[in-house]
């Protein structure tokens, strides 16, 4: 699948939350581990419900986990990368 412009902090957050495995995150959000792998790698942009599930799993606002970037815009101010 095409690489999306959606950056995310899932990998970092997993390690900060007790070194949560991809399978554990997948189980908590009701998807397969492959989908978590694809999201982390930026190969798949999750649906809004799934993005909210991931955000609630980490107990953070959705924009702290996902940042949309395109040619015309700067990275989000809430992004840890900014």
């Amino acid at each position: 699948m095409a690489k999306s412009d959606l950056k995310n902090q899932i990998r970092r957050l997993r390690f900060e939350n007790g070194e949560m495995t991809q399978q554990q995150l997948a189980n908590k959000t009701g998807v397969t581990r492959q989908t978590i792998i694809a999201i982390e790698a930026g190969k798949y942009a999750p649906s809004l419900p799934l993005a909210f599930k991931i955000a609630r799993t980490f107990g953070m606002p959705i924009e702290d986990i996902f940042q949309y970037e395109d040619e015309d815009s700067q990275p989000s101010a809430t992004s840890p990368d900014a």
Partner: protein, 147 residues
């Protein structure tokens, strides 16, 4: 490799088997002369069980029922593949129609068996394209389906 990928590989296998059946029937490798029609039908049903039903049973047995098998990403991949395969199958039917129209003319007629063969080929194309597009989107089944 998840169930969708396994299903796609099975689709390729099934397409290959359908092509093999067509080749055997068209070339007459197996001579059925002298065999009663019910016997030939039973023989084909036996082949169908061995080559089609048993692999499906094996696929179902290998499922891990506790895990999520199909999620939103899989559905997106399947949806795209079905669209691509439907367009391919429809294109084959349209090309067949146009070739027949220009070669034979609008007033010509064809045998029902030839019509069946055209639908058979379109079905094989549908299944093959469906399987290939699924596998391409997963990355040909690299480690855990991701490269």
């Amino acid at each position: 490799m998840n169930m969708t990928q396994k299903g796609a590989w099975f689709g390729i296998y099934l397409s290959a088997m359908l092509v093999a059946v067509a080749v055997v029937d068209l070339t007459g490798i197996l001579d059925y002369k002298g065999f009663p029609t019910p016997g030939i039908i039973v023989w084909h049903m036996l082949l169908a069980v061995v080559f089609f039903v048993l692999p499906i049973v094996w696929l179902n047995r290998s499922r891990k029922k506790s895990k999520v098998e199909l999620d939103e990403r899989d559905r997106v991949i399947i949806k795209r593949s079905v669209i691509a395969a439907s367009v391919s199958g429809f294109t084959i039917l349209c090309i067949s129609y146009l070739v027949a129209l220009f070669l034979l003319g609008a007033e010509a007629s064809i045998k029902i068996s030839l019509l069946s063969a055209i639908i058979y080929v379109a079905f094989i194309f549908f299944m093959l394209i469906l399987s290939l597009v699924v596998l391409v989107q997963y990355g040909w089944g690299g480690k855990d389906g991701e490269k």
